[in-house]
Amino acid sequence: MTAMTGPLQRPPLKTSGGNARRRTAFNRAMGVVLSAAVLLALIPLVLIIAVIVANGLPAMNWEFLTSTFNFSRREPGGGYLHGLVGTLYMGGLAALMSIPIGIAAAIYLTEYPRQRLAGLVRFFADVMTGVPSVFVGLFVYTLLVRQIGFGTFVGALSLAIIMLPIVVRSSEEILKLVPGELKRGSYALGARHWQTIFRVTLPTAAPGLITGAMLAVARALGETAPLVLTALAAQSVVLDFQGGGQTALPLLIFREARGAFEAGQQRAWAGALELMALVLLLTIIARTIGARSRYGR
């Protein structure tokens, strides 16, 4: 076929001839550039963590975690227990509202991808991801708060609206990864469509779905703007479902960080540390579940 290159015509193994030196140098230079970019990208992240830990740790103690505001916010002491409770309460409610609907929508998108409605849902999910969260707060404020007042539920609802598109899109990507051969295996055994979804598709995708949902929860826990317009505020632990104000860690941080009192600012730093630890914890849980049994073991 083609003429064989004689052994004498082959370049030597030692890279010295031709443009080998230039290519090696370029390769090395690109390696340096990329490493530098990674380091640059890490600077803000590391700084944020360092500053929060450095400022938050001195004010962090058992009292801070387990008590609410003292009578005087001018003085040191007291804590953000009401904020933690509000954050977990509203975050949990928001998760209950958005995760089932989001996963159901994602199932629709993957099982009926050709439907016109699927394209529409996908488009609006994308648009919603980009909507500034303060608009979501305004939306819920106009729609509900003016009728039924501030409270846990309306706060949770605004968080759920922020989470929903994240859950839909992450779940859709995960569900798309479920191998078609598994679904076909199920159909070949005489499974109906819903049986295949519940017995094969969802269990196979479960770790990934949980990861996506956790990341959406983590995102929602840090939201401040929509809560200002829906949860408003509270001075102590609120367990009411709806009606009174509610508070959350970001709300307390926002409020005390711009306050005039040194003690309040200290508490805000501790609150920031607490919130960051909470989000970090959720992310780690999500990653652990996601890494385990991606598909098999």
């Binding site: 598994l182 076909r184 295996g185 055994l189 005489g190």
Partner: protein
Amino acid sequence: MTTTNHEDQGRQPGMNRITIDLKPRQEEPAATVLRARTPEPADATAAASDLEPEDFVFELDEVRVRYGDFTAVRDISFKVPRNRITAIIGPSGCGKSTVLRSLNRMNDLVPGASVLGRIRYNGEDIYDPEVDAVEVRRRIGMVFQKPNPFPKSIYDNVAFGPRLNGYKGDMDELVEASLRRAALWDEVKDKLRSNGLSLSGGQQQRLCIARAIAVEPDVILMDEPCSALDPIATLRIEELMFELKENFTIIIVTHNMQQAARASDVTAFLTMGEDRAGYLVEMAPTERLFTRPESRLTEDYITGRFG
């Protein structure tokens, strides 16, 4: 090469019946078999002429499968004898798997696929609008090219089908019996709770066979079940097929001619026309097809001159 045969066909319109004799092959344009539009029991299914007519599980009549505008296979007429291993061979892309998938309505899952003609299963038209595709699939099991156990335990893999059907009996017993019939029990009896994906490829494929037979189907369709396996695992599957044919009818698609020759009772040879649509060239008892093929196309294929 089909061109010349088609031309021959055009010049000899009378030759549309294949007779089984030992005339030199070149006098018999192969395409005549394909052009034998009237499905006489004597042509493709002469294979099983020693069987009673009611002993056919499947009767395909002028089956044509289309994906959108593309005709994947056309003019497929043959009968599948009960409790035999029927092999479908042919070059890549000739529609072997398409024919197989149309037998348990798996093609329904492919968007744009349509099946024309008639496929009778125990005399019933499985594409009758009143027939439930899910019921068809419960009677006609399938084993795929790539082993596809569910990412569940070995036990749950086998119990999957019976649970779908709301099986009321002793599940442990059924799982054990199915694994034994699939010749896998001894290898997995101590690790029924471990993941099906932890098994080797050959074991996974036998697990898929156990999973298929756990629902007591009538027929097992196998779509190149050994193409991802090593020769030893392949041989084990073939031995297993031989044992299973006592209770099941097996139809196996294979691109491995040796496998068809070794393991099947009846062989159907498909090839592809100029229109890229697959069609049936001939079907005969395996031994005869491989020793005295009626069609030149078959002879070319089995002797390795084509495909």
